[in-house]
Amino acid sequence: MTARPRTVLLTLIGPPLCGILVACLVIAGWLATGLPLARGETWFTIQKVPPVSGASFTSGQPDQVQFFLAVGNDSRDPNGVGLGDAIHVIAVNPGAKAASIIDIPRDTSVGGGGKINSILANAGLSAFTQTISNFVGVPIKFSMTTNFAGFTDMVDELGGIDINVQEPMHDVDSGADFDPGPQKLNGPGALAFSRDRHSFSAGDISRTVNQGYLLITALHNFQQQAVSPGGVLTALGNLGRHVQMENVSFQELYRLGRLVLTIDPANIKNVVIPTGGGSGTNLTPGAGIDSLFADFRDDGVLQSH
């Protein structure tokens, strides 16, 4: 073959051959990086998605420690407010996902003014809240109280509380009649559990601790039932019908409630204040109370108690 025919052949075959080579390179590139589905569409990388994912968020949830007061009063009148016999200052620390309950026996004497429980009956919830706030040294954002009828109706509407009774409780006065172990408390049962002080050697001190234990157990019940947001609203309706509240809106309660539902009950400490005497009237604050309140006050979490 002469040089001229070879040149003609290359001229004829060369361009198509180059085109095929370029096309092969482009196809190889497509295969390596992912094929665009159609002409004109942008390049993309196929990403697998997770089989399960979730998102939960509530606007305006508190990010600072919240202190509030929950009080059970002894009024038998469904619309009345009596003596503040079950007194609990509750702190919730959003960052630590922890909470604390300071239990104050009803017979505690504050400022030499007689038993603390009478302030609720005589001066009302606002004055009572202010007294407790001054006593503990924390800013109590809001407070709530319920009476006998309110408490029993509320527990019944919740469907009762499943609790593990720690000690035998057999007391005619309160109506408590529980053996140790798992129990389902209806409204009257929960009230009896909260009122019984005769089944324990420490009397009112043990009763006060039991009240805090009941609150934590009720939270645990809620968490186990995986209450939906709609269920939280239903529970708030129940609360509103049976509890007198001050300085809190239902939107604030919803936000706080959703936060509290994320707290592991194991991260909630329930501590009764030290008192100077045994069960009886006019208990004086005992040694170590300043240390307890300081521990409570700084971040709402009891690190050393």
Partner: protein, 207 residues
């Protein structure tokens, strides 16, 4: 002639009565179950309203229930369906949420709340939704302050390698926000299976 006049008069009376009894009353009546879809893309209806009263018995009005349902319709159309159809991120959904949620819906929650960052659609798209159940809370004065709307949404989307099935259990809590009710809290759980899902055998066909 007299018969005609009487017939016309009776007809007018019956017509007036029908109009009187059929007309709406501006939302003071209880919200009722409606079959009207609030989505342009999928059948999305109100399944029922449960009223949680903290005080004076009250019933959520049709006006508020309708406003909430309209917002849900927009959430589904713009946040779940349009991104699949167009291949673009969800748009015009921020206004459905209150100010406190804005940062969260633009963060990691975006991929859960909305169809965002999912494999490109290559085939059929079949969305469906269960009826919406609203639970509404009224305060001591009977004023409604919060309402949660819960429903399930499903979508079968043709993607590379097969079909991806997505189920969302959605719970959106609304509160009045200077007038309109906006989403102030949400809980969304997404479950996916099929093609393009991590751990799924069909996901291997991505290349």
């Amino acid at each position: 002639m007299r018969i005609v006049v009487v017939a016309v008069a009776v007809g007018l009376l019956v017509g007036s009565a029908l109009i009187f009894f059929a007309r709406g009353d501006g939302g003071s009546r209880p919200a009722k179950k409606t079959k009207k879809s609030v989505s342009a893309e999928v059948k999305l209806t109100l399944g029922g309203v449960s009223n949680a009263n903290a005080g004076t018995p009250a019933t959520l009005g049709n006006d508020v229930a309708g406003q909430i349902m309209d917002a849900i319709g927009q959430y589904v159309d713009k946040g779940l369906i349009a991104p699949v159809k167009t291949g673009k991120p969800p748009a015009d959904v921020a206004g459905l949420f209150d100010g406190g949620t804005q940062a969260a819906i633009q963060g990691p929650d975006k991929d859960v709340l909305f169809e965002n960052g999912t494999p490109k659609r290559t085939g059929d798209f079949k969305p469906s939704a269960d009826p919406v159940i609203i639970t509404a809370l009224s305060d001591a004065d009977g004023q409604f302050v919060l309402a949660t709307a819960a429903f399930n949404y499903r979508a079968d989307v043709g993607v590379e390698g097969g079909t991806m099935n997505t189920t969302r259990a959605i719970s959106l809590t609304f509160a009045p926000d200077n007038g309109p009710w906006k989403i102030t809290s949400y809980d969304v759980a997404v479950t996916r299976q099929g093609a393009q899902v991590e751990g799924s055998p069909t996901a291997a066909a991505s290349k």
